[in-house]
């Protein structure tokens, strides 16, 4: 974490870029920190809700990070967690209202999971670990980075679950009818939550195979 920072650091200095890049790979919130798993299981049966969820989390996380970072010097440490929660909850309710107004179907599909962004540990974790001790711009980048890291896993999982489970991509049939005529069937198991866990497991496996540094020594 950056402490003594020079004045007038360029906006996308290597250090700031690292804030966005790290969560995408070596510090991914889902596959490395194992946070936010609950929603990753729940909203990934189809691509559309997964993407809406990823965008919602990004908005909530980036804005909350900036707000907390702006307030960081005034927040009394004794009630800081409550302050963080108020900021997150406000953002989540705003997002929920906007979804209800403009993408009603998706909002019905996501139902309680939008509300549960409040309890998504990634958000609170980033506020407490990063935004409380950093300036708004790095905090903003950190929020975007972590939300991207979360979103990319959601989208990969949703892609495989929708493709194998329903034979569609964005609700458009991509598996030709000929396959079905030859006896191919959609794998109904992919629609169920356990397969999301297994898909995440496979992603973690592949990631650790390619990057040996992530493997814990025992």
């Amino acid at each position: 974490m950056s402490e003594e920072k020079k004045e007038r650091e360029p906006l996308f200095s290597p250090k700031n870029l690292k804030l966005i890049k790290d969560p995408l790979s070596i510090n991914n919130p889902i596959t490395v920190q194992v946070l936010g798993i609950c929603s990753a299981l729940a909203v990934t049966a189809k691509l559309k809700p997964a993407i809406v969820m990823a965008i919602s989390v990004m908005v909530v996380l980036a804005v909350s990070n900036v707000v907390i970072s702006l307030l960081r010097n005034g927040i009394p440490p004794r009630i800081r967690i409550i302050v963080q929660l108020v900021v997150i909850a406000t953002m989540v309710i705003l997002v929920d209202q906007v979804l209800k107004a403009f993408v009603y179907d998706v909002s019905k599909q996501l139902s309680v999971f939008v509300g549960l962004i409040i309890t998504n540990c990634i958000i609170m974790g980033r506020l407490e670990a990063f935004a409380m001790g950093n300036k708004p711009w790095p905090a903003f980048l950190d929020g975007i980075g972590n939300a991207l890291g979360y979103g990319i896993i959601l989208i990969i999982v949703a892609f495989f679950r929708e493709f194998l489970g329903s034979g569609t991509i964005f609700d458009v049939h991509v598996i030709p009818q000929g396959f079905y005529d030859f006896g191919y069937e959609n794998n109904g198991l992919m629609i169920l939550p356990p397969m999301a866990l297994i898909t995440v497991g496979v992603i973690i496996w592949v990631q650790r195979y390619r990057n040996r540094d992530l493997i814990e020594d025992h």
Partner: protein
């Protein structure tokens, strides 16, 4: 160190700002949200009469085109208001609060309920909105009867928060399609409603099977809710139905 006074002031101001922000947003977005809800309600009404090619984008126009008449009837079956032209989504029928009217009914007060008519190749389909309670919250829907005001053409159900996979299955077509062809009056013209039978209609005597559908396994309380909703609401329409015969 921060003083207690500072902490209280800080918390109070933060909460007031958050509250102001949220109430402003809620008020500004309300028209959009209400439009979405109205469109969903129209979709349910049209879907219960098996109208094909329903399109959300032009739902309000479709609703006005397909619904030939939107009626309001009172507890004695008298037509209070009938709207055949113009914007039916602004009419009295579409904006009746079913919950409130059924509450009035339960308490022995006068009540008014909506009915929609749709023309299907020269025959009228009557659509009766439904409202009741499930396990976790309200359930609602529409039941469409054919011109004889006895045979079910179709139903749609929706719910606020029934258990996914169990009670929430009432919105799926395997459950809803069971109602098609069922009858709400028996051979003597007595109102019998449609029973949602735990254990399946096969349990019933042969003659009663036309008045029953299978309940949902594991969703008993929601199924009972549907059963009670059909009985309670359809019963309120019986005076109107009798007058049409």
């Amino acid at each position: 160190m921060y003083s207690n006074g500072y902490i209280f002031r800080y918390a109070a101001i933060l909460v007031i700002i958050a509250a102001a922000l949220l109430s402003t947003a809620a008020m500004m977005l309300k028209p959009f949200q209400e439009r979405n809800m109205a469109i969903e309600k129209m979709g349910g009404i049209l879907a219960s009469a098996n109208v094909e090619n329903i399109d959300k984008e032009v739902m309000i126009d479709q609703f006005n085109e397909f619904v030939t008449e939107a009626l309001v009837v009172d507890q004695d079956g008298n037509v209070v208001e009938s709207l055949t032209e113009g914007e039916k989504e602004n009419g009295k029928a579409f904006n009746i609060n079913m919950k409130e009217q059924l509450y009035r009914k339960t308490n022995g007060m006068d009540y008014e309920l909506p009915i929609y008519k749709i023309d299907d190749k020269g025959k009228t389909i009557y659509i009766f909105p439904l409202y009741g309670t499930g396990l976790w919250g309200p359930i609602w829907g529409n039941i469409a009867l054919s011109q004889d005001l006895n045979t079910v053409v179709g139903v749609t159900f929706d719910h606020k928060g029934e258990t996914p996979g169990l009670g929430a299955e009432i919105t799926t077509s395997p459950f809803e399609d069971q109602f098609i062809g069922k009858e709400i009056f028996d051979d003597n013209g007595q109102f019998t409603s449609i029973a949602v039978v735990k254990g399946g209609v096969a349990k019933l005597p042969e003659a009663d099977r036309i008045h029953g559908v299978d309940a949902i396994s594991g969703g008993t309380i929601t199924s009972n809710g549907v059963n009670d909703m059909l009985k309670n609401v359809l019963e309120s329409y019986v005076p109107y139905i009798e007058k049409q015969k």
